[in-house]
Amino acid sequence: MSHHNPLAFAALWVALLALMSPVAHAHKASDSFIYISPDEGHLRVDLALRDLALLVSLDRNGDQAVSGAEVRAARPAITRTVEQGVMVSNAGGPCRLTGQRWGISEHSDGNYAAADYRIDCADGGTPDTLRYTLLFHIDPLHRALVSIEGSSGSRLAVFGPETGEISLGTRPPSPWQTFLTFVHQGVLHLLMGMDHLFFLLVLAIPATLGVRAATGSRRALGLTARIKKLAGIATAFTVAHSITLALSALNIVNLPSAWVETAIALSITVTAINVIWPVLGERTWLLAFGFGLVHGFGFASVLSDLTSGQSELASALAGFNIGVELGQIGLLLVGFPLLYALAHRPVYERAMVPIMLAVVGVTSLVWAGQRVPLPGWIG
């Protein structure tokens, strides 16, 4: 055993098994239960005693067992905790919760502290918004399972660390609401993601330049021709990334995200180089189409992070795509006139374009280097 470090092995062994067991052998995870009937002004909250023990001192004698007496003694603290972590409100502001019945309830993994509350809103109306913030700071995998009871039946919802609030309208969010939310997300993603901004910039630059004549000098293009050219490029990009976004969002094609991100970065570099040395030809729209396919997979990985637990996948997909388009059109509407105005000055083509291309090309090359999931080419 000379070549082995026993300490290394102890660590190895422990983590190794750890890897294999928790996945396949999950118990019930940490869940709270919330039952709410907005119309009847009734709320019930069930918190697992094990979870509560993290928030209030339940086990007073420190014997790792929670007795009935200990739960009773902790009742004021439990009530305070629930009041801080569960909030019901409507347009008139926060609603008041008045405790009614209090005790222990049983779920599939043991005992919970359970309480019924009457909801009184300041404006006398029905509550329309629920918030829940307990435990996430200790256990991000904690969830609150919510059942919203209405006259037309009940609806289920889930609070996670990022949920914020849940609307108590008895109907789930309409496809239209989902659509609007995702339009917003699409615009945000396009405008916040430097990748796509850079790519659009290097796609737009050729449309601001003239057409290369046989002599190597450029023939100037009229404004209409330039706008046509730009529209062609933007359309090709849009069509391409819409195709792959849909394929990926519907789980029909899946690519490893690290490679997609690397390819996106490289596509920017290549497009930048292509403006100066048109190795891939001068038909920028073809380039926009080809690389647009890659960018679509990138959009999809963002979308899939946003749609976990989303039932209106089609509305979400359509909304996100349109959001990306709106962002793109808005950007070109602002950016292109600016570039066009500059394009009349000689310094534009001689200095500004090369500098922009160099900055974009080098930056994206650095990104590509950072993103490539190489190490030894394993996996």
Partner: protein
Amino acid sequence: MRKPTAICSISKRWERWRVSRRRLSAFLILMVLSTEPAFAGPSPINPDFADTAILAQLPNVRVNTAQPPSSPEALASQVHEYIRQARSTGDPRFIGYAEGILSPWPENRMTDELRVLRATLYQSQHKFDKARTDLRTVIQQGYGPQRLQALLTLANVQTVQGRYDQARTACQQLQQAMPGLISQSCLALVDARTGQAREAYQTLLAGYRQARGAATSEQLWALGTLGDLADQLDNDKAEQYWREVLLSNPDDLYIRAELADWYLRHHRAQPVLALTRGYEKVDSLAVLRAIAMRRLDHPDAPTLVQRLRERFSEARWRGSMLHKRDYARFQLHVENDPELALEFALANWKTQREPPDTRLLLLAAREAGQTERSRPVRQWLASHHQTDARYPGDTP
């Protein structure tokens, strides 16, 4: 005769596409299933509980709810402790606590040790791509025990996901860095999954016999692997190997479940009850226990089955089905619903391709009379030359 590589890769891609079409339909079905309100009303509130009643048992490990550790070493040791707890009890809350203290830690202060631990947490939540990214970083820039740990963990992730070429590369790198029973087991497992089960078993057995002086942890690791290979070859020695592991390491839930399943397959339900007693909270073992109880007409069977139904329906309400294999097994052998079992087995197989996952899928497809849906799986097995005594033939 070997096909030219290009054709081979095209056909693989085609097969992948076909599999993803299946996934699409499974996904749609899952969406339908998950919107179905499968819920009974809340259980009653009991205000009259006895003062002396013990209502909950708290874990022995203190959970840090105050300040998170400030040094990377202290943080790592705390995360490690939580992971160990999750492993030995199967309790996913500890995975959550570990994530709770690790995720606020700034990226630029990440150490190799923390990355390996984070990869472990990612893997336990089926975030395999993220796990791989962290492991590769450590393999590239790390050294010493952390690099070894990363290699072994990566080999494990790749093997579980059925990426045998990549798994083999990781095992080989591990062997170069540290020859011994662990890397031998690593390679043997990959070899066995790719058409060389008999040779892999003999080689590992010989290696095990020669390494009598090896650390206990290494020997146990090799024994667990030998059990798996023996079982793959329909060799009854599997029972003995796994028994030996459990003797030293009773909380190895993975081996415990493998052994319990072995007894069920060999029509011995009685030992399953003994093996799973006290582990009713662990889903995989509780499902095996329920199957055994049903076979024995045990009076407690209905209670356990009811408890499992409730637990699974809560998990579906929660939405993150991290235990699709257990649920599929429950549907197939307890609820006798092979169609539903097949949907979950297919969804599970997307990310986990260990023999129990594959076996369950093939069984469910056969029971459901939908063997055409397991055809891509059969093709995948054939492409890796994977044969396994645990797999059923397609004709009943």
